[in-house]
């Protein structure tokens, strides 16, 4: 071997932006190397926007009320997509490590769990914007709906939806780390549990009384109510956004705590040594990305 390169004395850093940047670089390389991964970011938001946009167009022709609330369905579906993309963006980046059997390499590196989560959240933001920006521009062209016209409210909506998406994504990642890829289905389906409760397409008052209690515990409910307030009443409800932010703070803290506990539990049962081993999703029979990659 050559004369050894002697690295400078290692310096311990409790939190390192360089390590977060290293993870972002890893995901950037991955996206750059795979056009299907990039296309997938745009494909589903585009399909949703077109489907709900045409439905909106149809309803506008037959209902004066909905015509007056122009774009509420497209707006709802695009904001719902922010929520689901926030969670999926985080979960998919996490799953990439599981599929590639790279997780043990990361867990024995100096990367701290908080840095890993920060990188996953940042990637979720990148992935969401890669999907949403072109689709929102197409929505203006196709249906005359300008999501960006929601103005400052849009920033508050995005922030709250992303925070909820990340909280769910962090918990799901912890569960997958603890239980292996057999739990992967949760990453693709868990968020849909919120769909009827968050009053995405209808006011929360539509729900039965007991469900309204649960609905108001979920930050996205405040966002979708806020969106309708802008569209129907032309006013921005800052109070709703502040309440959503408070609940999100609790959600994020609880999710990070749960993640750390799940990592500890995984270490206790020894599942981190078996990460990436293929376990068929026997309970659901779902065809997931991991099963596809295993077959490939």
């Amino acid at each position: 071997m050559n004369a050894p390169y002697v690295s400078p004395p290692p310096v311990y850093a409790a939190v390192s932006l360089a390590r977060i940047a290293a993870m972002l670089l890893r995901y950037f390389y991955l996206l750059r190397s795979s056009w299907p991964r990039l296309a997938e970011l745009i494909y589903w938001p585009l399909v949703q926007m077109l489907m709900w946009g045409f439905l909106q167009t149809y309803l506008n022709r037959h209902s004066g009320f909905l015509a007056a609330a122009g774009g509420s369905l497209i707006g709802a579906i695009m904001l719902w997509d922010v929520l689901i993309r926030g969670q999926l963006g985080l979960s998919v980046s996490f799953l990439e490590e599981m599929w590639s059997r790279n997780m043990a390499n990361l867990l024995i590196s100096p990367l701290r769990p908080g840095e890993f989560l920060a990188a996953l959240m940042a990637m979720s933001l990148v992935r969401m914007f890669v999907g949403l920006v072109p689709v929102s521009l197409l929505a203006i062209w196709f249906f005359g709906f300008n999501l960006w016209g929601l103005g400052l409210g849009l920033v508050a909506f995005f922030a709250n939806l992303l925070l909820t998406g990340w909280a769910v994504g962090v918990v799901v990642s912890g569960v997958i780390l603890r239980n292996g890829l057999g739990a992967e289905g949760l990453a693709w389906t868990l968020m849909f549990l919120l769909l009827p409760l968050c009053a995405v397409f209808y006011p929360v008052a539509t729900l039965p009384g007991f469900l309204q209690v649960f609905a108001w515990m979920l930050p996205p409910t405040y966002v979708f109510e806020g969106m309708r307030a802008i569209m129907f009443e032309h006013r921005f409800r800052g109070d709703l956004m502040a309440e959503a932010l408070s609940i999100n703070a609790v959600f994020i803290a609880a999710a990070c705590f749960a993640f750390l506990r799940l990592v500890d539990s995984a270490r206790r049962i020894g599942s981190l040594m078996a990460i990436g081993e293929y376990r068929p999703p026997a309970t659901t029979g779902m065809v997931t990305k991991s099963s596809i990659e295993t077959c490939a």
Partner: protein
């Protein structure tokens, strides 16, 4: 090669009463050992002997039920993050992302480990481990032997003082396996680095290791230099010694209370 001076006398790895119990199964039963700096130590044992669990606990991937682990003088339960950038690990059961090229993977890990001159270190590893021809090829498109060399490059990216290897030459042809062993010996000797490797490959352990820890059913049943073990058991190869220990034959069968 430039030999480095070992200034610190504390063992590279120190384990006291290490235990791992999974419900009714005791995977590791209160083992204790110390590994001196700059040595290459083999962890030998049959399937289920507790080798991988021991390595997993040293790395922090598995939480011990009891006992103490110190690596480079740091208690791994409380100070794991103070030592992670000074150690590394390689196993055929852990992989690098297939879609990234070799260079991209090494760049990412160099940054994670805080390697100051990452480009220089990658170039150096490319020469040492003969990676230059496929440095810009995706890892998924490499042969098993090339992947092992890349995994080894990742394990050496931070010039670690302690390297843990889990069956480093499993599934490799004899020529590639021999090539890897030569590189590992050179690395350990040139940097006074400590290597702990779990292996089923007896000739590999015989050739590489200064010291061998033999495990059976979660316990250490013997420990000595390879030749000393061969002499002690009155055998001609380490493989015969391994079989005696695994089957409880020869003098291994006569041992009531293993050392």
């Amino acid at each position: 090669m430039t030999a480095m001076t070992v200034s610190d006398d504390t063992p590279a790895i120190e384990v006291e009463g290490l235990t791992k119990v999974y419900k009714a199964l005791t995977a590791v039963a209160g083992i204790s050992f110390a590994i001196r700096r700059g040595s290459i130590t083999g962890l030998l044992g049959g399937n289920g002997a507790g080798k991988t669990t021991t390595i997993g606990m040293i790395l922090g991937l598995i939480l011990p039920t009891g006992g103490i682990i110190r690596v480079l003088g740091h208690d791994m339960a409380a100070e794991r993050h103070l030592v992670l950038h000074r150690i590394n690990f390689e196993s055929p059961y852990v992989a690098l992302p297939n879609r990234l090229t070799v260079r991209q993977n090494l760049r990412v890990f160099a940054r994670l480990y805080g390697v100051a001159a990452a480009r220089r270190r990658i170039d150096e590893l490319a020469v040492d481990l003969d990676l230059a021809d496929f440095l810009d090829r995706e890892v998924g498109k490499l042969s098993a032997g090339q992947k092992t060399r890349v995994a080894l490059a990742k394990a050496l990216i931070n010039a670690p003082e302690v390297v843990l290897l889990d069956e480093p030459t499993a599934s490799l042809d004899p020529d590639t396996g021999d090539w890897i062993r030569t590189r590992l010996t050179a690395y350990s000797r040139s940097r006074a680095a400590t290597i702990l490797l779990a292996s089923h490959n007896m000739p590999e352990v015989e050739r590489l290791c200064d010291d061998v820890i033999m495990m059976k059913a979660g316990k250490i049943v013997d420990r000595a230099a390879p030749q000393a073990l061969i002499d002690k058991y009155g055998r001609t190869t380490l493989e015969d010694v391994f079989l005696d220990v695994a089957r409880g034959t020869g003098i291994a069968g006569a041992m009531v209370d293993p050392p």
